[in-house]
Amino acid sequence: MTTQVAVNTTARAFPKRWKFLVGTLVILAAVLYLIVTATTENAQYYLTVEEVVERQTALGDRIIRVSGAVVGETIRYDPQTLELTFTIAHMPGDPSEIDEAGGLAAAIRAAVNNPDAPRLRIYYKGPKPDLLRPEAAAIVTGRLGEDGVFYADEVLFKCPTRYDEAPPAGAAQEG
């Protein structure tokens, strides 16, 4: 009698558990599919200026992301057309290399003052970002044109003196 009941419950429980297992697997597969396709579709190489300049032709029409140091005297902005151009100089992409250079502020300064550092001209159409200034760290996303100018859809800036633990004494003058 008791065995009968036990057999019955397992028999009933089994397909149910299967159903839930299958349901879970379907969801899991859908989620994985979404993540994998979205990752491959939207992957952008995050490169340094040097890497962009070296690979130029190999990059083709890919959307890439480049970081570099803004060279102050190259910033041009036309408030009529909202056309913004500036040049970024190569700086190391690796945090430990930046540390070696003495922090982000120092790494940027070194990059901007090094005439041999590879440089890249950036074109962007839109409002001039508040954080764009000489010796800011720029992260630009867009495509490299055939003319060697980088056409950015998005520009981001980081100002090391603002948030880094830089000596405050000089910071007010450094800007």
Binding site: I27, V31, I35, P79, D130, Y163, P168, G175
Partner: protein, 691 residues
């Protein structure tokens, strides 16, 4: 002098934390209740000690004690009193102290609660919460000390920041400080860190209870869940407010017309919110049916780990981000701490898996239990997807040596469908019965909302030539709003017929008598409103830009702006303001004057573009001043965004707060149960009271 007192009490707090954690865990392990009692008192003392340190930092900021490195980093002579106080969380050193202080407040609050019924948990709750608090105090003392001074070391032009002077160093006191980052001077960014931190630290309490329950084997009963329900709600509420304020700040200050950019720092806050929300739902099933127990425990552990991870991301900038807190020496300690807590928590969970057996079997797909299980999975899946996208650059660099990022499109594409599925579940879940639901009755209940929503979405979609996904979004929002409102209507109708109540009276009583349930539904309605805001922002945003001479106009979405002139003046907090006056017309009718401006913070040499917005239920007209003729001031360039439905985001946010408060509000029975009076006598071991 004041700073020395602050440093002293900070040191005391660290020593107390070490003592508290040791005494609590040792006392719990050996059953020595005098040790536990002592730990309990010491844990309250940690809060007092940290309070003194916090007051000392605030005092130094207000008095502008520039000998402290932190003061010169975030405050200046031009900084107003209010901003000097809020500068406590304006930089890294202060904000970690602030975090630790909030955590210690939760710790003290949990320590002085009445422990009569569950005192076996007490040593471990206090122990685990103190370990976390102690870790942050340790960081404050040794890694990011707000009491550090600046020193000039002979033979080097570098300035060293340390509490104790390096050999032969002389103190350095700057003439003025840098002042608070101008971008952070906005109510959203002033309110965002405290609320976010309360949310972050608040989740440590349910986690501590969960771990304590696992250690003691009390996880067999689900009492810890009932005990922590309201703590969890508080944490969740504050985390939600923090997210909303952050979004509002981005909308008002960053000037790109949006409120969410899938930035690592934003993701870092969203992830614990996601798992925390799943936890809030999962525990309902655990409480009511004794199921999904492993889920509940896993979710609270994940929430805790993501809270620490989130603090780590925001405070170290390991992942590159617009939110510009640079990388620092915090990385390694955080990594080690997260690792230890991760391994510890999951080892404990595996060892105690037998105490978490489900009391019932899942009977049908069409049951409330199953719907909750799926929502748990979805929340977790979204969290995994967000986590993957956030750390992908780091992983790809480790594996391939190349840094590859995925931008906002990745997040939109992956989380969009899953969020939609979640909202759908949210709409139908209340209609599902426990155990098993007959498909027929479900269909009967749903066909009305389904038909109405489909009709509206199809008509609107064709008429407005919407993107299919946008039309589906509209359908979803209407469908879920209707099913949720129907729940209210059903309850009201019952009261109106049985008790002969007036409709409004019935509604108020309905909510008041079932606060948890209807508070929850109000939150659901709020989420639907916010979803509307997200759809508007995602699919219907428009923009245009043009240079205008005085008197010229620019139109967008039926609105026209006319440029009337520019003026320049000195504002407060050391800023130079350039303000444009613009008249806004709808059709030919004058609506109002808008004043978009550009503030230039002189000391920081930092411009901030502040949009002017005109808000309506249909959408916001969002005007930015993006360029101008320097000398004549006769021409300026404007960018206008039409941000549809965005008001629903913020009003939904307020509704979410209201709903959560209703669900949180204690019932009379609960109020009697909870007493916050410190009564150490009550926790002496009483023989065989059966815990």
């Amino acid at each position: 002098m004041i700073a020395d007192i602050g440093m002293l009490s900070l040191t005391m707090a660290l020593l107390l934390a070490v003592y508290t954690a040791t005494a609590a865990l040792y006392g719990g392990w050996k059953g020595r209740w005098t040790w536990v009692e002592s730990a309990r008192n010491a844990s309250v003392m940690i809060f007092f000690m940290l309070t003194i340190s916090v007051v000392a930092v605030v005092y130094s900021l207000v008095r502008l004690d520039l000998s402290l490195a932190y003061v010169s980093e975030v405050s200046s002579r031009a900084t107003s009193l209010f901003l000097r106080v809020t500068a406590l969380w304006g930089g890294q050193r202060g904000s970690i102290l602030f975090w630790a202080w909030l955590m210690s407040a939760f710790l003290a609050a949990v320590a002085i609660r009445k422990w009569d019924t569950d005192r076996v948990l007490m040593p471990y709750v206090i122990g685990v919460a103190t370990l976390t608090t102690g870790f942050f105090i340790w960081l404050v003392v040794f890694v990011a000390n707000p009491f550090a001074r600046m020193w000039v070391v002979p033979g080097s032009d570098e300035i060293v920041k340390a509490v104790l002077p390096p050999r032969g160093a002389t103190p350095f006191i700057p003439v003025d400080g840098q002042g608070l980052n101008p971008l952070l001077r906005h109510f959203g960014m002033i309110g965002h860190p405290p609320t976010a931190y309360v949310g972050f630290t608040g989740f440590v309490i349910p986690y501590a209870f969960a771990v304590a329950a696992l250690i003691t084997g009390q996880s067999r009963s689900d009492a810890w869940i009932r005990t922590t329900r309201r703590w969890t709600l508080v944490a969740w509420l504050f985390l939600s407010i923090g997210l909303l304020l952050g979004g509002r700040w981005a909308y008002d200050v960053l000037g790109w017309g949006g409120f969410w950019g899938w930035d690592p720092v934003e993701n870092a806050m969203l992830m614990p919110w996601l798992t925390g929300t799943a936890f809030l739902h999962s525990v309902m099933i655990t409480e009511k049916r004794g199921m999904l127990k492993v889920w509940s425990v896993v979710l609270i552990i994940l929430t805790y780990l993501l809270v620490i991870f989130g603090t780590f991301i925001t405070r170290t900038g390991l992942v590159s981000s617009v939110h510009a807190f640079a990388k620092s020496s915090l990385g390694l300690p955080f990594f080690v701490f997260i690792g230890i807590m991760f391994l510890g928590s999951f080892t404990l969970l595996l060892k105690r898996l037998d105490t978490l057996r489900s009391e019932h079997e899942m009977e049908s797909f069409l049951s409330r239990e199953a719907v909750f299980l799926f929502q748990n999975m979805l929340f977790l899946a979204i969290t995994v997807a967000v986590f993957w996208g956030t750390v992908f650059p780091m992983i790809s660099e480790l594996v391939t040596g190349e840094r590859i990022t995925v931008g906002p499109p990745y997040f939109d594409k992956v989380t969009g469908p899953m969020f939609a599925a979640l909202v759908l579940l949210m709409g139908v879940a209340p209609l599902f019965a426990w155990r098993k639901q007959a498909a027929r009755t479900l269909g009967k209940a749903l066909w009305g909302p389904f038909a109405v929503a489909t009709l509206i979405a199809v008509v609107l979609g064709f008429w407005q030539r919407m993107h299919p996904a946008a039309a589906f979004g509209i359908w979803l929002v209407i469908f879920v709003a209707l099913t949720t409102l129907l729940e209210f209507w059903k309850g009201m109708k019952a009261r109106m017929t049985v008790r002969k109540e007036h409709p409004l009276e019935a509604l108020v009583n309905l909510i008041a008598r079932n606060r948890r349930r209807y508070g929850g539904y109000i939150v659901h309605l709020a989420v639907v409103m916010m979803a509307l805001g997200v759809i508007g922002d995602g699919y219907f945003q428009k923009e245009t830009q043009a240079p205008l001479r005085v008197g010229q106009t620019l139109s967008l979405q039926g609105y026209t702006i006319r440029f009337d002139g520019l003026r320049q003046y000195m504002g407060s907090d050391g800023r130079e303001v350039l303000e444009a006056q613009v008249s806004l017309f709808k059709g030919d009718e004058f609506v109002r004057v808008l004043r978009p401006r550009r503030d230039y913070f002189i000391v920081q040499q930092q411009p901030v573009t502040i949009p002017a917005t005109h808000t309506t239920l249909a959408g916001d007209v969002y005007v930015l001043l993006v360029g101008w003729e320097e000398i004549t001031a006769s021409s300026a360039t404007f960018k206008i965004y039409w941000n549809p439905l965005i008001i629903w985001m913020w009003s939904g946010g307020i509704m979410l707060i209201v709903g959560t408060l209703i669900a949180w509000w204690p019932t009379r029975a609960a109020r009697r149960e909870v007493s916050y009076v410190l009564r150490p006598g009550a926790m002496r071991p009483q023989p065989s009271s059966g815990g």
